[in-house]
């Protein structure tokens, strides 16, 4: 589902962020991406979501070669990749419903179908009753779950999460990770960047470790 072949990413200001990354993830696989801050975790995820392009090498996602993907196709690629951020990236002046509906609205889906799918997504993260609230009225954990609902509402085959539990206490973090596992069961490929090693070790999934932009350790498929 995701394949990296000799991927390099170099920034003019910062130098090399990723050096010769090679790995492959199968459909329905769930993996963690660990490493210190600045090790290149976010950069790697950004490359998969085509928020950035690699300096060298090839990335294939769902059979698409991102290197040759024309600019105009980028939005359609992003609809295949749900992204979850540490800071949630919600719209503060819109209701939870509208926030979650955004990925569907941009595809031009009909209102009825949008409503149905948004409620299904909110139901999965346990926030069905809060659809009228605005993000500020929600706790950090709830906001993160809204972010997750938004990422899964378009039913993308790939889900990326960048420090999704960075600001949450251990119990909430575990809840969120268990939610991710449920998506894995239905065939979603998940790559989760985190530095919560205790949680990673307790969950027994494939784990990539990045250090200074190099892939140090890959536990292989669990």
């Amino acid at each position: 589902m995701i394949r990296f072949e000799h991927v390099f990413k170099r920034y003019p200001e910062r130098g090399e962020a990723l050096t010769n990354i090679n790995f492959e993830m199968k459909v329905g696989e769930m993996a963690f991406l660990t490493g210190h801050s600045g090790a290149g975790k976010s950069t790697l995820l950004r490359l998969i979501g085509l928020l950035e392009r690699p300096s060298r090498g090839q990335i294939l996602v769902n059979g698409r070669n991102l290197a040759t993907l024309p600019r105009r196709q980028i939005p359609y690629h992003r609809r295949q990749v749900g992204m979850i951020f540490q800071d949630h990236r919600l719209l503060p002046d819109r209701s939870i419903f509208d926030n979650v509906a955004l990925p569907l609205v941009v595809t031009g889906l009909g209102q009825k179908e949008v409503g149905r799918r948004v409620r299904a997504a909110l139901d999965q993260v346990g926030l069905l009753k809060r659809e009228r609230a605005t993000p500020v009225a929600l706790s950090g954990g709830e906001q993160q779950r809204v972010g997750i609902a938004r990422a899964i509402v378009g039913r993308p085959p790939v889900l990326l999460a960048d420090e999704p539990t960075g600001n949450l206490d251990p119990d909430l973090s575990r809840e969120i990770f268990e939610l991710f596992e449920r998506f894995q069961y239905v065939g979603v490929t998940l790559l989760i960047a985190t530095h919560d090693l205790a949680l990673v070790n307790s969950m027994q999934h494939r784990t990539f470790t990045l250090e200074d932009g190099r892939l140090l350790n890959d536990t292989g498929r669990w």
Binding site: G49, R53, R71, R72, P75, R78, L91, L102, P103, G108
Partner: protein, 321 residues
């Protein structure tokens, strides 16, 4: 059932695409209008500025249009009014007219007998009492001379006038068209002014809309970023801004029309009073249908172009982080 349904609706079918396109546009247009109405004060101010900018050339156009209508009525009047000696009677006058009809410069001669002139004068009103006092008709016979088109240039008319003055029965000859031609030139000047002013203020509208949309884009940076993250196409993101520009244009155009119409209504009373003093039925005409159409279409286009410029400058290349 649920599974079948979800599979069917996973992606839009090709046949549905025109419908989706249309409904997306409609939705975007209405949503954009709603957003503009959510902040009535700033929207109203922008619309008012556009409206006033467009009302100025529109008002000038109405002025020129009305002056032209007014002048149109005078175009039929004779180029030269020939006042015969007081002693000349109708029979002699007829002879003179007949003689003049033979001249190559003259297309038509119309005789206004003394009685007819008196009747007309009476009909003008206000003079009845004065006329009652008079024993005799004080008015001379007048011959209205209509020259051929080839001979109606100012210099030629002057030659003709001198030729007519040389006739023994003629008292004096008044040229009626020279000032009309001057008036026509002034009208042309105003018309050019309308175009110039319209062009300048149109540029102003372009800048106003462009700047308003630019600020709107900056205000909604985060929202735009998030929309890009979840897979919104560039055209989807641009659409509301372009619609906002078109709405600004439309509302501004309507405001301009309203302002001009109000001004005409306010002026109508005093104009008809003035006209009645001149015994004229003249009434101000407003912006016609076609002029209004031009203003509205023009203002929508200006709004659209203004926002298009802003969108192209400020919503470019955000697709890649």
């Amino acid at each position: 059932m649920a599974k079948k349904r979800s599979r069917r609706q996973r992606g839009p079918r090709l046949l549905d695409l025109p419908g989706i396109w249309f409904s997306q546009h409609l939705q975007s247009a209405i949503a954009t209008l709603g957003r503009l109405m959510d902040s009535p004060l700033p929207t109203g101010m922008t619309v008012a500025v556009i409206g006033i900018s467009l009302a100025l050339p529109a008002a000038l156009y109405v002025l020129a249009d009305n002056l032209r209508t007014m002048a149109g009525g005078w175009d039929q009047s004779a180029a030269i009014s020939l006042f015969l000696q007081y002693e000349t009677n109708d029979t002699d006058a007829n002879a003179v007219a007949g003689q003049l009809r033979g001249w190559t410069e003259i297309a038509q001669v119309q005789m206004i007998t003394r009685e007819k002139a008196l009747d007309e004068f009476r009909a003008l009103g206000g003079f009845e009492e004065a006329l009652e006092q008079l024993k005799n008709n004080p008015l001379p016979v007048v011959l209205a001379i209509y020259p051929r088109n080839e001979y109606s240039a100012p210099a030629q008319l002057e030659t003709l006038q001198n030729k007519l003055l040389a006739l023994p029965q003629v008292d004096f000859a008044r040229m009626d068209t020279l000032w009309l031609q001057r008036f026509q030139a002034i009208l042309d000047l105003i018309q050019t002014g309308v175009l110039l002013l319209g062009g300048l203020l149109g540029m102003g509208v372009l800048l106003i809309v462009g700047n308003t949309i630019r600020l709107e884009i900056l205000n909604r940076r985060i929202e735009i970023e998030i929309m890009e993250l979840v897979g919104a196409t560039a055209s989807f993101i641009r659409r509301p801004f372009l619609y906002a520009g078109a709405w600004y244009g439309l509302l501004g155009g309507l405001t301009a029309w309203l302002l001009v119409t109000l001004a005409i209504l306010l002026l109508q009373g005093s104009v008809s009073r003035l006209a009645s003093l001149y015994r004229s039925e003249f009434a101000l005409s407003g912006l016609g249908f076609s002029a209004m159409g031009i203003i509205l279409i023009g203002s929508i286009l200006l709004g659209l172009i203004g926002s298009w410029i802003a969108v192209n400058r400020h919503l470019r290349g955000a697709e890649l982080g």
